[in-house]
Amino acid sequence: MDINYTAVLPEIILSLFGILIMILIPFTPKARQSALGFVALFGMVLALICVTAQCGATGLVFFGMIFQDYFGQFCKILFLFASAAIVLVSINYLEREKLPYGEFFSLLLFATVGMLLMATSADLIMTFLGLEVLSISTYVLAGFKEGEMKSTESALKYFLLGAFSSGFLLYGIAFVYGAAGSTKYLKIAQVIEASENYPLTLFLGLGLMVVGFGFKASLAPFHVWTPDVYEGAPVPITAHLAVGSKAAAFVALVRVLYQVLPELSQHWQAILWVSAVLTMAIGNIAALAQTNIKRMLAYSSIAHAGYLLVGLTAHNRLGTQSILFYLVAYALMTLGAFAVVQVIGREGEKYIGIDDYSDLGYRYPFLSIALSVFLISLAGIPATGGFMGKLFLFAAAMQSEMYWLVVIAVIASAIGIYYYLRVIVFMYMGESKDEGTPIIVPTPVRIVIAIMVVGTFYLGIFPGTFLHLASKAVSF
């Protein structure tokens, strides 16, 4: 347990690149600012190389603040991959919407640092700081379209509710600290294991911490901000909120519940059982009524948080493994879907109603086929990653003998099929409409979409490789 800078090298690299981009902004001519995106991308690739080189190292590092383990490394690679995809997608988006490049990319890099810290933190202080670094960067990014009321409103709502929820999280941390006398994960777990009867403050702490993380991962009943914020934020940031931010909150929750409070599992399992049912029901039912695709995907992301909760509630090895697998599948299909939505939205995001997708199928085959693949995968139809992920999650709940939860989850995902397929029906069978501005698919976005399509099928048809990696990553 000593200071070890190499262990946090990926975070250091990302932070340095974030600062470097801010320094470069005034020295780069206006016309060449988009190159800053590639600087950010380069930083992420460097960080990715560092994480890959560290794979296999285990132990507590950086004064016991950071875990080095397969679980953290798996999540870090996933987060870096997701952020890199967002950078690629947003270069053309920023150009189209005439938004400043530099601030966007440096904030995105800082947000990624927060995500990485949340995935590896071994101390509640570090978890809180990671969460705040992620959140504060994302508040600004959500309101990035300064000239648009929707974006400002989205940022304001996210900020107020986010700050409110971090108050709850902190209060929970304070109680856990009071009950256990430490903020270190392993120390708290030891103290709890050794004690015979638990103090009231411990339960208060558990409840408040679940509320705090629940807000960030948009679990019902703390999901109300999600649709508004997702709708108003710029599309690449909506993708970042739905994938990176949510996955990071989930991973941190997994660590806190499984590593810090495993002794209280019967208590939190009861809370999460109820929350999982509510999250799946609300997400899927509310999505049925949506006419705006960003809003529909927001509710869909709530529903998917519910499926992840099913795996979390199971509290067994297969559960953790399938959460990791599902996070990968979910990242692929959601990033892909938002990339398509962004391109079809065209300048000013004017075409984001579901009826704007009418009759796109034959005019833009590449986009339509890709979007269909992502939606089919989100719906959980076989041969796609979404199906396999759900299968493993539900199998984990079966293993823990939570049959009712699985029944409800299956019914909820059956409801979900309707609204995903509705978009596809619109694309291929909708009435032809006035074409509007032609859609241009820039090359980086095309590459991202293609990778996501291939990845979605790969996970669906050959789940073995990733399942094996995920099982190696379950180290606790």
Binding site: I125, E153, L156, L170, Y177
Partner: protein, 100 residues
């Protein structure tokens, strides 16, 4: 010596006032100040535990919370300025272009 429960109760009351304020009040600045009140209630809780556990960990945590609260204030006030420029009011109910 004053027992720990007194401090904890005070912190809990402050936290409840803050949380209620965020829910009830409609002025953005007031809501934001209520969030700050919640964070300060948490700080008080940390210091109480730190004092009665004879550790400094809790007090160090308070420094981090204060730093984060300052960063949050910078971002939050910027967003509030944006809102007031756009709507000429500080009423959050004016930010209602998106519903359901």
């Amino acid at each position: 010596m004053v027992p720990a429960t007194h401090y904890l109760a005070l912190a809990a009351i402050l936290f409840a006032i803050g949380a209620l304020g965020v829910i009830i009040r409609r002025n953005v600045i007031t809501m934001f100040m209520c969030v700050e009140l919640m964070l300060n209630a948490v700080n008080l809780t940390f210091i109480t535990f730190s004092r009665f556990l004879n550790q400094v960990d809790g007090q160090i945590f308070v420094f981090f919370v204060m730093t984060v609260a300052a960063a949050e204030a910078a971002v939050g006030l910027a967003l509030i300025v944006l809102l007031s420029r756009r709507t000429d009011t500080l009423d959050v109910d004016q930010a209602n272009t998106m519903k359901w």
